[in-house]
């Protein structure tokens, strides 16, 4: 007995078994097997291998039992033991003794039932683990291996052996140990919390069970207050509360814990006698029920509401999924409760469900439910893309657990949206019955306004994870496809437009796509955008000659084709001088065709010439043909999308302005021609020279003005704007770019041709100048007419005189001569009238020009200011107009100072 010889542990164990049970070796075979298994599976010690700690515990234990003398004795003995060097594992022996110690004052009669259970469970264990029976000699001592073996056996035996394991646990007598081991339980707590954390995340019920099964290994169970505390009368047992709480978790009122309508929370019946801590724990747990109700109410209310839309439905489905996980956990807890019921009270004392345990295990589900409830609150009244935005905004949390949860929900929620999106960008179809997608379609819009008005973005429905830019691109892609189909009548199979569509049609994992919004998603949209837009532009250019039409606009409506316009004016002049009411469209159309055929315009595309037409504006009384004539260009079909009615109205206005300016040029040419032709003839009438000089001066003033105006319009306005337009059209990636560039072109032409509202004053002055030119033309015409009439009369008089002289008669009679003189007198008397009329004209004209110049000088447009310099290049007007002098002077002064 006293020799510490190295017998094998199995032999020792066997003799121990015999010794304790007092039976022979054969009789204790079962017990021996069991002992070998327990030792073999050797739970990793949950305590520090510290002799000092153990001895302190023993002292504490003795002190607790009010045996101070024994404690002193123990420390004496311990000291003695330390002086001996025989034992290598003193802590181990001491610990063993401590574990086996019993309070002598406590009755030790609580063993009976355990034994029955033990005997019951033993054969089953022997079967499930035959491993240890066959190899009794090899006791594995490596901790890792042992614990692995243990967990494996737990996994296979499952819940049926649960009760046994809790019995076999190292802490079979928790009451005696617990009080002495505060640090141990504190260390075990976080471990348990971590397992509970993992509990709801894992989906399968078997893995959800695992933490329950392994729980006894984590250390002593959380102290259960109902065992320690003496019970008062009428107090509710904790087990009943746990049962209640499990119902409350599902939103069902329990026996004691009921929904309080006025406070909107679960409350323990105030009549129930209960200590405060339990009451607190209960109400903390009951929050789960409240959260569950909230989520449940939302899904119940919405899942039948079809108008809630697909996105909403998938949100509800996601919530359902989460609730299902939650229910699974609850069912596990319920089954645990069931097992406890079957095994009776005994099991409850060690591993039962307690409120505290629930508090730990339900911690994570509570956080999840809280997030869901918050989500539900936030999503109230939202649907479609808005809902997805709301969910997405909740994903921006630092907590990885919550982020994963929200991401999961988001991927479900945004799935329908992405489906919409793919249908839209690859097929151009909008199957959005509940208006959830961010592209809206207006069914009332006809095809001619399809591009502009039919589709629009629903700003509120754009999910926040899709940028505005992406959204507008998406809109554009689908719009282009629809435009191709409905307006261009293009029936190319879609696969040809976007080769990427095939790969994208396969339902991809939405979450994956969402996580990579910057990369793959953007790429996909960009590719679809690029392909579709390019195809659309190709179709428009190839089949519908968009660019040719653009050029035709410039050539015909903006008078770019000079020879044609000139010839047309020549041909139209006799028609247009007539009153507007006598004009007939068919005559003018005929003239137009003649003009086309006679000029380079004939080489133009027939498609374009076909569209060229004459249009007569509304006639107001007193209008001549000049005022109402206008060229027109018919646009229809796809190109009408670029050349909208509005645009054509602008073109018409610009054309009228340009046409008027052109007419002035034309008129002045006529004036100049008259002057040149008549100058020689009228040399014989010296009395006219003054008047004619005045005419020449005024005419050249006007010619200068109109030349500069024409220069400005042609080069500064039309050509510059056109160049910009052409560059932009060449670089355009989609139809919207072309439309925008074209609108910009028209706007700039309108504003710089002084046709917009801000330069109305300028335009009025210009109109007045034009009127003066017309007036001057008629004045000069009448002047020439009377002068030429006078001239012919004089010539006739001279001829007659000569003829008579050759006939040998008196050239003139006195009477005739007097008559002649009287006529000449009369004519000469009209000359001052003419002069004054011309002077008035000049005066008016110069006044208007000066005002025009003043307006030009104050204009903000630089090119207009430059125009004023050109018009007044020799400072002729500046000398006359003090206002002009001031403004010009300051301007020039500033420029000089700048230089």
């Amino acid at each position: 007995m006293a020799t510490l010889d190295q017998k094998s542990p199995n032999v020792l164990l066997q003799s121990l078994c015999c010794r304790i049970t007092g039976k022979s070796e054969a009789e204790v075979a079962h017990q021996f097997q069991y002992a070998v298994r327990v030792i073999g599976s050797n739970y990793a010690p949950t305590i520090e291998r510290d002799e000092f700690l153990v001895s302190e515990k023993i002292k504490k234990e003795l002190l607790k039992q009010r045996r101070e003398a024994d404690a002193a004795l123990f420390s004496e003995l311990h000291r003695k033991l330390q002086t001996q060097s025989v034992l290598k594992h003193r802590w181990s022996v001491l610990y063993l003794l401590l574990s086996l110690s019993e309070d002598p004052r406590k009755p030790s009669g609580r063993v009976g039932n355990y034994g029955a259970l033990f005997a019951q469970a033993l054969p089953r264990d022997a079967h499930s683990t035959p491993f240890y029976c066959t190899r009794p000699q090899s006791l594995a001592l490596g901790y890792g291996e042992r614990s692995a073996g243990l967990s494996a056996s737990v996994g296979t035996s499952g819940i049926s052996s649960l009760g046994v394991y809790t019995l076999n646990g190292p802490t079979a007598t928790p009451q005696s140990l617990l009080s002495g081991q505060p640090p141990q339980s504190a260390a075990a707590q976080p471990l348990g919390a971590r397992l509970a954390w993992a509990l709801p995340v894992s989906c399968s019920s078997s893995s959800a069970l695992a933490p329950l099964a392994t729980r006894p290994l984590l250390g002593p169970p959380v102290p259960s207050s109902r065992v320690v505390r003496p019970r008062k009368d009428g107090e509710v047992s904790e087990a009943a509360l746990v049962r209640d709480i499990l119902y409350v978790f599902q939103g069902i009122d329990g026996k004691f814990i009921k929904m309080s309508a006025q406070d909107n929370c679960y409350k323990i019946d105030s009549k129930v006698v209960l200590c405060k801590s339990l009451r607190d724990t209960c109400s903390r747990l009951a929050e789960l029920g409240w959260l569950h109700n909230k989520v449940r109410k939302y899904t119940d209310a919405r899942s039948l509401d079809r108008a809630f839309g697909l996105v909403g439905q998938s949100f509800c489905a996601a919530l359902h999924q989460e609730l299902k996980e939650y229910y699974r956990l609850l069912s596990v807890l319920h089954s645990q409760l069931q097992v406890e019921d079957e095994h009776g009270v005994m099991v409850c004392t060690e591993s039962s469900l307690t409120l505290r345990r629930l508090l730990v295990w339900m911690y994570d589900p509570k956080i999840r439910l809280k997030t869901l409830a918050a989500l539900v609150d936030f999503c109230q009244g939202r649907k479609g893309g808005e809902l997805a935005s709301a969910v997405h905004s909740y994903g921006k949390t630092g907590d990885p657990q919550m982020r994963a949860l929200v991401q999961h929900i988001l991927s479900l929620v945004s799935n329908p949206i992405l489906n919409f999106l793919y249908r839209w960008i690859y097929d151009g179809e909008l199957e959005d019955t509940y208006h959830e997608f961010f592209v809206a379609s207006d069914p009332n819009v006809k095809t001619d306004r399809l591009w502009h008005d039919k589709y629009s973005l629903r700003k509120s429905m754009i999910p926040t994870f899709i940028t505005m830019e992406q959204a507008s691109k998406v809109l554009l892609i689908g719009k282009s496809i629809n435009f191709l189909h409905q307006v261009c009548q293009d029936r190319t199979p879609l696969g040809k437009i976007t080769p990427a569509s095939n790969s994208a049609d396969t339902p991809r994992d939405t979450a994956e796509l969402l996580s990579d919004l910057e990369g793959a998603f953007q790429e996909k949209i960009d590719a679809a955008y690029f392909d579709t837009s390019k195809y659309l532009l190709d179709v428009l250019n190839r089949n519908y000659l968009l660019l040719e039409h653009l050029q035709a606009m410039r050539r015909y409506l903006l008078l770019g084709q000079g020879d044609f316009i000139r010839h047309l004016m020549d041909l139209l002049k006799p028609e247009l001088v007539r009153p507007a009411t006598t004009l007939y469209q068919h005559n003018l159309t005929g003239i137009l065709e003649t003009a086309v055929r006679a000029t380079n315009a004939q080489y133009d595309n027939a498609e374009i010439l076909k569209r060229l037409d004459v249009r007569l504006l509304e006639v107001s009384p007193g209008d001549t043909g000049w005022d109402v004539f206008s060229l027109d260009y018919h646009v229809d079909g796809p190109i009408a999308t670029v050349f909208t009615r509005e645009c054509m109205g602008h073109y018409l206005r610009v054309f009228n302005f340009l046409w008027r300016a052109k007419r002035m040029e034309y008129t002045l040419t006529d004036i100049w021609k008259g002057q040149m032709c008549n100058a020689k003839l009228l040399k014989t009438m010296p009395e006219l020279s003054g008047v004619l000089h005045q005419c020449h001066i005024l005419a050249s003033e006007m010619v200068h003005f109109i030349h500069q105006m024409q220069y400005y319009i042609t080069f500064e306005v039309l050509e510059c704007s056109w160049d910009e337009l052409w560059n932009r059209v060449q670089q355009a990636q989609d139809l919207d770019h072309i439309i925008a560039a074209h609108d910009l072109f028209l706007d700039s032409v309108i504003s710089r041709c002084l046709l917009d509202n801000s330069s109305r004053n300028l335009l009025n002055q210009l109109r007045a100048i034009f009127d003066q030119i017309i007036e001057f033309q008629s004045a000069q015409d009448s002047l020439y007419r009377s002068a030429l009439e006078e001239l012919t009369l004089r010539l006739q008089f001279g001829e007659k005189k000569q003829q008579k002289e050759t006939e040998g008669q008196w050239g003139v009679t006195a009477e005739q001569e007097a008559e002649e003189k009287k006529r000449i007198q009369e004519f000469q008397e009209t000359i001052p009238k003419m002069r004054s009329q011309l002077r008035i004209l000049t005066h008016f004209y110069q006044n208007i020009v000066q005002q025009f110049l003043v307006l030009l000088m104050t204009s903000t447009d630089e090119s207009l200011r430059f125009l004023s310099f050109r018009l007044d290049f020799n400072e002729h007007y500046k000398a006359r107009e003090p206002r002009l002098r001031a403004s010009l002077g300051t301007n020039r002064g500033r420029r000089q100072s700048n230089i």
Binding site: Q6, C17, Y43, V86, K88, L97, L100, E102, V111, G115
Partner: protein, 73 residues
């Protein structure tokens, strides 16, 4: 050699006495022989937690066996 062995034996005996005393103090219910077996097991590195569990179970088992024998008798 012999004296060393006897000194060792003395030390062992003394140790065992001390341990028995502690065991008695703590009311473990182990007799000398069981204690010595336990000490030897512990010295071989057996986890004392597991060992104590085994001992308790063995006691319970023998108790039940006795009880059942009594009742059958």
């Amino acid at each position: 050699m012999a004296s060393a062995a006897s000194a060792n034996l003395n030390a062992v005996r003394e140790t065992m006495d001390v341990l028995l005393e502690i065991s008695r103090l703590l009311n473990t219910g182990l007799d000398m022989e069981s204690l010595s077996i336990c000490v030897r097991l512990c010295e071989q590195g057996i986890n004392p937690e597991a060992l104590s569990a085994v001992i308790k179970e063995l006691r319970k088992a023998s108790e039940t066996l006795k009880a059942s024998e009594n009742s059958t008798n």
